[in-house]
């Protein structure tokens, strides 16, 4: 029997959700300040209106839910801890996360839609979800004439989403409470860097802000060496860093990375893309001097092997397809390897036009790219996809099963792998890895079918679907403002579900089912 959620459940979810929404509103102070400083009056009003809407909605929701929350606390039995009686449980945490991402998409779309550079509110929602989910697929019109303010917001959504909307809330706006960890896990971060989840969230921000300073400096200088003026070079540098480290892939100009015609800039972005694809726990070990972990860690080893294999497939595909990019090492690196590492890390920076990729790359080259995108980077990083730890666990499980067959029947076969520490391979670990992998494969397939139903070919549909669901952002030409609205909604769902790794999305679906069909 499905139990219908109580009013108190909705109040707990709504109360904490309103805090996250208000926090999101506060982040808009940055673009508002940028608009004031740069004299962009139209964008100033766009963000002012959005902030006002967010605060009115958030405060109203908080008041409404607090009343029920506090009456629930008064009704709580005396022998129960009154705070814990209404602290979020697992269901509350998961639903809050799922809803906060939808709320972020909705409110984040408002200033974009008001700018007039998106053809519809759905297009603006697509862009907003693409930013927060660090995908990078874009439906912007006339991007080259978009204001600095709106461009800053697009890149900020990636910075916020890459670290995690809930992580932002836990770091700055939420006092410690027992539900914090449940929310943290709901955002597809099941690894704690530090024992306390609030400290973990704050560590993630320290790392990100430190790299932001380094990244802005290095990318800004490199852009200046490429001929840009200093102010624009450092503004571009900051935005490119946010897109690279958060493996988002938005750029300030319509040509993506081709705009810069700068090989050195491409090299520096590769460094930050790879850094963004590394587990934050590994960053902690690197920062504390344990560099050996980089070579012992199962994720780094699997990432290295996967990049080699997928690049080999892509390079052979380019050669066999007669692509000019295979005619020299530099070209192969700048066009073949750059796209590959951009896809594998889930960034989505492109040094070729989307149309070129769709029409000129052979099927084998596209398959190599699809595999790279589908696999993704490390867990607890800014990237998407199935992730290296799960691939490593599945590979170790295969080795264990083969050993069980080969070794004598009475032999005890124990398989271990190194992930920060030595870990024994258990059946439940393998099961969890397989379940999420299967869910991703189904999501990729579902999006491919949706693309084919809209009239696109199999391989381009699979490419675009994988790009959306694995939060990559590479495009072979399907993503455009003219694509069917149904396909836009499918990709929005894929970006959302892929970023949250399903559990919180399924929990939300179950919650709505319980509201409709549940009994008390």
């Amino acid at each position: 029997m499905i139990l219908r959620p109580r009013t108190e459940d909705i109040a707990v979810i709504g109360y904490h959700l309103s805090k996250i929404i208000l926090g999101l509103g506060l982040t808009m102070l940055l673009p508002l300040g940028c608009a004031a400083l740069s004299g962009e009056h139209g964008p100033f009003f766009d963000f002012l209106i959005t902030m006002e809407i967010i605060f009115i909605f958030g405060l109203s929701m908080m008041q409404a839910c607090r009343g029920t929350y506090e009456s629930g606390k008064r009704k709580a039995p005396a022998y129960e801890n009154k705070i814990s009686a209404l602290d979020p449980n697992w269901m509350h945490g998961m639903i809050m996360v799922a809803l906060s991402w939808l709320a972020a998409m909705f409110f984040g779309a408002i200033p974009l839609w008001l700018s007039g550079h998106w053809n519809s509110f759905l297009d603006a929602c697509f862009e907003s979800m693409s930013g927060f989910a660090t995908t990078g697929l874009s439906l912007a019109q006339d991007l080259d004439h978009l204001s600095l303010t709106h461009n800053l917001w697009r890149h900020l959504t990636m910075f916020i989403g890459g670290q995690g909307i809930v992580v932002v809330a836990l770091s700055f706006f939420v006092k410690g409470f027992s539900g914090a960890f449940r929310m943290y896990v709901g955002e597809a971060r099941d690894e704690r860097v530090l024992p306390n989840v609030i400290n973990t969230a704050r560590f993630i921000w320290i790392v990100s802000l430190t790299y932001l300073a380094l990244g802005t400096l290095s990318l800004g200088i490199t852009a200046m060496l490429g001929g840009m003026g200093p102010v624009r070079a450092f503004f571009h540098g900051a935005c490119l860093f946010m897109a690279a480290f958060d493996t988002g892939g938005f750029t300030l100009q319509s040509q993506n990375m081709l705009y810069y015609h700068n090989f050195r800039l491409e090299i520096v972005t590769i460094v930050f893309m790879v850094l963004g694809a590394i587990n934050f726990r590994l960053h902690y070990h690197l920062w504390t001097g344990n560099r050996g972990e980089l070579f012992r860690n199962i994720e780094m080893r699997v990432l290295f092997i996967c990049v080699l294999l997928t690049f080999a497939v892509t390079a052979i595909g380019l050669k066999n397809g007669g692509s000019p990019y295979s005619s020299g090492a530099v070209m192969l690196f700048r066009k073949g390897f750059y796209q590959l590492i951009s896809g594998h890390t889930g960034t989505g920076f492109m040094t070729v036009y989307a149309e070129q990729m769709g029409k000129e790359w052979s099927d084998l080259a596209l398959v190599g790219m699809i595999c790279a995108m589908a696999l993704g980077g490390a867990v607890s990083s800014t990237t998407g996809g199935i992730k290296m730890l799960r691939i490593g666990i599945i590979a170790e499980a295969f080795v264990q099963d083969i050993k069980k067959v080969i070794f004598p029947a009475r032999a005890m076969v124990e398989q271990r792998f190194h992930h920060i520490k030595e870990v024994f391979l258990e059946d439940r670990t393998v099961r969890a890895a397989l379940m999420v992998t299967l869910a991703y494969i189904i999501l990729y397939g579902m999006g491919a079918i949706a693309g084919m139903l809209c009239g696109f070919g199999f391989l381009p549909s699979l490419f675009e679907s994988t790009s959306a669901a694995a939060n990559v952002g590479l495009s072979c030409g399907i993503t455009s403002s003219g694509m069917p609205a149904a396909l836009k909604m499918v990709y929005i769902f894929q970006m959302w579900a892929g970023r949250l790794e399903f559990i919180s999305v399924f929990t939300l679906a179950g919650f709505f089912l319980a509201v409709i069909k549940g009994k008390r």
């Binding site: 009056h41 209106i49 605060f55 405060l59 004439h145 319509s254 070129q356």
Partner: protein, 161 residues
């Protein structure tokens, strides 16, 4: 008779030179780059963003409304030009030069090596128009927010008493 032959020959040469320097759009270049690879073409568009000077050479990016294409040319050709952005239309220029589907000099970039850059329309500031409805909405919402904040404060103070 000789005059007819000379005229016909001149006409054929002129036609050949026009065909050689085809005027193309970004759509044509991106949908079939192989057709124009290595050929001298003429391309028109607005300079967007930065003019990136690298010693004696410079990069500009021209957007013809559909897509932007990178143009590599001598730095002298872009003196006094400026790119467009928010509230600004950049110089609209016509470039003439060799098109590369995958430029071997520039790591495989799709680009045009322009011998000449001719300004067609000079850059201009675009007036920023703010919709009056937006201004009124901002003021109205500010009023609602103030009222809500006062109500919440009143409720909080009443609870304390």
């Amino acid at each position: 008779m000789a005059a007819v032959f000379v005229s016909a020959a001149l006409f054929v040469c002129a036609a050949a030179s026009f065909a050689e320097q085809a005027k193309v759009s970004s759509g044509m270049l991106l949908s079939d780059p192989g057709l124009y690879d290595g050929r001298t073409i003429s391309f028109e568009g607005e300079i967007i963003g930065d003019i990136m000077k690298q010693g004696r050479a410079a990069w500009i990016n021209l957007n013809d409304g559909r897509a932007a294409i990178g143009v590599f040319t001598a730095a002298d050709n872009v003196k006094g030009l400026s790119g467009g952005g928010y509230k600004k239309q950049g110089d609209i220029v016509r470039v003439s030069g060799e098109f590369h589907k995958a430029c071997p000099q520039h790591g495989g970039d799709l680009d045009i090596h322009a011998d000449s850059v001719t300004v067609i329309i000079k850059s201009a500031v675009i007036e920023e128009v703010i919709c009056p409805v937006e201004k009124r909405l901002a003021v109205f919402l500010a009023g609602v927010l103030c009222l809500l904040s006062i109500l919440m404060l009143y409720k909080k103070l009443r609870k304390k008493r």
